[in-house]
Symmetry: C2
Subunit: 393 residues, 2 copies
């Protein structure tokens, strides 16, 4: 009577959502300040003032149709403004025709995967990985092929990728700055990946795409820069969201960028438009299209996350946890103190620490700490982290 795959997805337990719900209930029970909730990626930094100003100004506009339909791909003026900003930053030559506005990076990824999908396709993801990749890949009828990142530095494992590629490989999804690990893929990594995919595409006689999932592009620390993937590899689709840079995750605004250089540009862009229709998107929310255009050069407020990173890693150092130093995003990837990360997360819960076990991201033995929280949460959590460590000594 009901689609069993959709039912399974709807009923699938999610550690992140369950922890988040548990946290809300627990806070109501024992007090907001007694629970140290590192479970989710809801930005703690308020949106820049310009977001509110743009919303207010659009809302006050007497223009008829200010909330009317935009073209499915988005308003031409908005796409032009975004293209111009990318061109200033990356020395590119994009125009409105390279952009397709979406309901966040999730919309962009679901659309891009659907647009590319053919029978027997395989899509490679690098583990640990954002769990919804599996949902969109399998919903399109494709097979997810997990390839572990190098455990030494969590850069891409080019040899492992080479071993995983075959004639069915349609795309590799990369996510840099990375959720959950916080790594930024280096130019060297991207060069090696581009070379591998160029050779493999030639070997198998069809393009192999990079789908670059980049919602954290602006959230980077110290002097780290995020290389622009299409500069390294022609068959790249960039999926972006303003969820993190402008603290707008609930508003669903992002884009898919398809450079002119991709194989069969016209067909690929048309297939994106078709996939947007098929999945039930009509257009990205118009008022946030205006916000995106107005804020396109607005700097992300990284300072707060940088302070949090310092504070949290200082506690980890003091307690003696092993972790990966984040170059970007706002997650800390910490080695669990027992092999079973779920059991470790349960133990952490007894200290009111809400940490996401790495099983959610396709690997064992780690936990993810989202540090997009008030700095006080981190400072107040120090004794709990200490006590948790002591449980294992």
């Amino acid at each position: 009577m009901i689609n069993q795959a959709m039912l399974a997805l709807g009923q699938e337990p999610s550690s992140i959502r369950e922890l988040f719900a548990y946290g809300l209930a627990r806070k109501a029970e024992i007090g907001e300040d007694k629970v140290f909730d590192f479970s989710i990626g809801n930005p703690s930094v308020p949106s820049p003032a310009k977001v509110g100003e743009t919303l207010t100004s659009v809302a006050a506009s007497p223009a008829q149709g200010v909330h009317g339909y935009s073209p499915a791909a988005g308003l031409e003026s908005v796409r032009s403004a975004i293209a111009a900003s990318l061109n200033r930053r990356f020395g590119t030559n994009y125009t409105a025709r390279n952009l397709y506005m979406t309901c966040g990076a999730a919309g962009a990824l679901a659309i891009a995967i659907k647009a590319l999908s053919e029978p027997d396709d395989e899509i490679i993801v690098n583990t640990p990985f954002f769990p919804e990749y599996r949902v969109w890949i399998e919903a399109s009828g494709d097979t997810l092929v997990p390839v572990p990142m190098r455990t030494s530095d969590f850069q891409l494992d080019i040899d492992a990728l080479r071993a995983a590629i075959n004639k069915h490989t349609k795309a590799v999804i990369i996510n840099s700055p990375n959720n959950p690990v916080g790594v930024v893929y280096s130019e060297q990594t991207l060069q090696a990946l581009a070379q591998l995919l160029t050779e493999s595409a030639e070997q198998y006689g069809h393009p192999i795409f990079i789908i670059a999932d980049e919602p954290y592009r602006e959230i980077v620390y110290a002097d780290v820069t995020v290389p622009w993937v299409p500069s390294f590899y022609k068959d790249t689709i960039v999926c972006y969201s303003w969820s993190k840079s402008l603290s707008l995750p609930g508003e669903r605004i992002g884009y898919a960028l398809v450079p002119d250089q991709v194989s069969n540009f016209d067909q690929l862009y048309a297939a994106l438009c078709g996939a947007g229709r098929a999945l039930g998107f009509v257009c990205a929310p118009v008022i946030f299209q205006h916000v995106a255009a107005a804020c396109v050069d607005e700097p992300a407020d990284v300072a707060a996350y940088a302070r949090n990173r310092e504070a949290l890693t200082a506690i980890m150092d003091e307690c003696g946890y092993e972790y990966i130093q984040p170059q970007g995003a706002f997650y800390l990837w910490v080695r669990a103190l027992e092999p079973d990360a779920r059991a470790f997360a349960e133990t952490a819960k007894r200290h009111e620490l809400l940490l996401v076990p790495s099983d959610s991201f396709g690997v064992e033995g780690w936990v993810r700490l989202g540090y997009c929280v008030a700095e006080s949460v981190i400072r107040n959590a120090a004794p709990a982290f200490k006590a948790l460590k002591q449980d294992y000594e």
Copy 2:
């Protein structure tokens, strides 16, 4: 290399979109007031003041996370407010658990169809019908079965529906007030449909759903009321949007309502959640969830459309066109003056009249006039309608 079905969808010509684009170009060429554009359903009435006030107030809120993720189904408080409003209007007992917030009715329909879809499913639509139904039905792997409405009054043809139902029938989509015809299905029609589906469900041993697509529910004229479909038939999913009632089509806010009474409520609701994930929706835009809750009892501004309806039908009467008197929505369904509606629409274009040929809605011989336009467009179009009529005399 690319999904051929998505490519075909993306490249598919759409009379409505093409006419709309033609209209924009033509207006730029010969002047805004010289083109009589009846091509699309973009509401001409501005949003109520409360929409802008809510946007401004949310934008000005100092609360952290005001633009943060909501649960996938939507904010509990918002869903409760909508449930309470429905209960006041329809004497029902809904709660937040009956509502799943979506990116407009399109999102709700795509999700509902996907949630129900099993192999070999057939979904019945009543022609003429909104063309995207086919897209979502076929994207889910289902077969669209068109059943013509009665041509006498465009109520549902129960005998024809009976003949079309078989063991593969999963659902019937109904749309009242109707796009493109403007009819509102009567209580008598809904009773007959409910009886037919109840018998058929028993005969075939599985539920047959009504998917009630209701974005025009509040746009009705004179003393017409729109019956509440779940009061007539238990296995009903209502798909709603504020696109038309609050003039917010570009902002993508609506819901799917699943009453407790439906067969396997828990599973069906879970499957909706699963389908929302699979299609790439994360949550409906949060700020417009707040707007929907704030404006849940805000009356739609029907007066302007009522005036337009009067003005347009007066012109039709004067010129001698045959049309269906609209009870709701803002479309006039007019008999083309030659059997080929596309050819008729081309002739109309020579008089700067942009009318959508009925082929877009799965039937021949009619055109749709969207009268959600400035009243002046209608008044100024009178000579053009007259001249068009004379072309055929």
